[in-house]
Amino acid sequence: MNGELPMTIEPAIALAMRDIAKRYGATCALRSADLTLRTGRVHALLGENGAGKSTLVKIIVGAVKPDSGSVALAGRPVAFRSVAEAIAAGIVPIYQHLSLFPELSVLDNLSAFQLAAGRAGLSRKALVPRDEARAWLTRVGLDLDLDRPVSLLSLGERQLLEIARGVGRNCRILVLDEPTAALNGAEAERLFAVVRDLCAGGAAVLFISHKFDEIERLADEVTVLRDGATVIDAAPIGRHDRATLVKAMLGMQVEHEHRSGSAQAEPALVATGVRVAAGQPLDLAVRAGEIVGLAGLVGSGALAIAATMAGAAAGRGEISVGQERFAVGDRREAVRLGVAYVPADRHAEGLFPPVSAIGNASASALARFSTRGILGKARERSAIEPLLRRLYLHPARPDAEAASFSGGNQQKLLIARCLALPNLRALVLLEPTRGVDVAARAMIHRAIIEMARTGVAVLIASSDLDELTALCDRYLVVRDGAIAQELPGAASTEAIMAALAGKAAA
């Protein structure tokens, strides 16, 4: 329109969002956010939890309407009234929590959008033709039986299937919200290849991840959000180094702490010949003040072993905590003996969404605040608030519902629940910082180290090697449901990776 020729040949703008603001009640989720996606490019969106990433994504996919600001799709202003409208306009969201129907077949799932768009009355006609469905699968590198129920597919296959469903229609913008959080290395590689392919085909990709390695490998451009505003706007990926990006996200330098170095002699959490659900007998001892890492690939059984040690998974045998013991699977007795537990799936197994932050943190320690069945609310408050403050719960609203906090701050509530145990002796954490932003992650790591320094035995199962190497005094490598190898705290990431793959066993 303005007749000016561009200086360089830039790909066309697929999506332009300008000065977006969105409030939820008194909380300002977005103040002034800008985002520009170009066709054929992968655009990374960075920001700590609570910075407004989720809200921005919800606006893009039509789930939430902005209070002000403009959204333009390929130059035309749009205001989606529903997710269906956004999908019809070529926006394909792929979430961390998959939105497939596990009991239905691959073909049914591929046809879900058609079924949703069609009028009432299901018929076979509403399904995508089988040839076309196969072509869609081929585009994402899948070769699946169309009649197989989705529940039999691996997590990686499901995610690719979800992408196939989206790109089968006209996919102009692909939104990937932490797509690799639950994938193993090979599955993630496959996903990246597909994303590149789609880009080459002219789609714009918005990629949200906390993993810098992935971002550097996959993304062409990066936008950073902080506190509801864009602080770095569509910069080429090479322009800023990691430290600059982190600083932009946080507005400060993150403090790094390493290892407790506080392991004592006596074992505090011990399993001898315990039968885990998978079948292999388990021998495992964590000493007081020691941080032990259970390293394992997805499906190795590392999470199941850790859950068993906390009494959270079924099995046979007994686990001793100091001089006392609890039966495997008796989570209640384990809590009484001072074994704290952070489950892997925060939403399904950890959080009480409608309950206040304080109520979430005190859940395991109610006995401590009660006399003859009456809850001492003042006692509860005065014990829990300092814990939340110590973890820098943000926003600092101890009476707000847990559901109103960002993922990282919800995770802090689970950590506070561990800290609140009056006789905390052992701490078992599964994926303690999955999907958690850099600042919350640092805070949680610091809390773990502090607990170890007070003599708590810590067992961490994590698929995040950076996390394990930052914290652990000792690694136990899990393969096929059993502890296959032990490595000292000084072991390099490469050595651990080799052990994970089973190479060093020879």
Binding site: C28, A348, L351, F352, P354, I374, A396, P398
Partner: protein
Amino acid sequence: MSSFPLGDRGPSSMPAILRPPAILIVTALLFGLAALAVPRFGTLGNIENVLRIAAILGIVACGQAIVVILAGIEFSFGASAALASVVIVMALPATGVVGAFLLGGLLIVAIGMVNGLLVARFSVPPVIATLGMLMIASGLAAWLAGGLPIDAPPSDTFSWPARGRVLGIPVPILIAAAAFTLLHVLLARSRLGRGWYLVGANATAARLAGLSVPRLVFSGYAVAGLFCALGAVILTSRVASGQPMLAPNLPFETIAACAVGGLPLGGGRGNVLQVVCGVLIVAMLNNIVVLLNLPTAYQLILLGTLVVTAVLLQRDWAFLGQAVRLLTNGRRG
């Protein structure tokens, strides 16, 4: 250590503080409108009448509220009250009035315990367990009574729970006040009540946090039975007979009261004020139907509409805006 720092964006806890009074305002508005528009609604006699109805409903709704907070639902209240009324009247000659009331009450607590056991230990969905109990209790009551109401011999002691007064205040209203106080202590001050909220919010998380989920669920249904027992005694005293069809709508009315008060049927949330207001709204609406000389069948239709609307509103207050927009657009178009 100073006090907890406030969020930097002002008094953000406002909505949480505002929520309970919002339901109070709705209740007061309904009362005001009815007093203006419905003849005889505002008379002292009628208000006492409404409160009497609300009292019985409220006592039983206390039990329903506990079950709803546990993410469950209770359908058996009406049938167990009917069964209790039949048992009370039949036991009367043998046990005396107090003994009969006790027996009937214990029977309802026992039914609540069976429901609790089915849900807590055997993972039967609450809808199925309590519907099953509804049918069993209903059938038992009809079988025991032989299909017809059995009259109780007239006595002052027998009619005291429904018709007596203490210091001029009707006994049912006093019992209701006691029931609401007890519910408040249970929910807001007791460890048991906190456990109910946690289990209702996320049962898996509650188990992993070390709570005894089966015990909490069981106790919830049992205490709910206790509240229903109180209500059933007053009901039986009022009708002075054992009736196999005593209060068929009781479960629906109490569920409606909880939903209208703003308790999410998904569990984990709710307080006494919400229950009280929900009960008053349901009682006033029922009374208005009677005063306007509409068929009582309208009560059920109204109640059903109310429950569905309340749940829609809870899920999304924007629904109201949407509805208004739809209506206005329709008019323009």
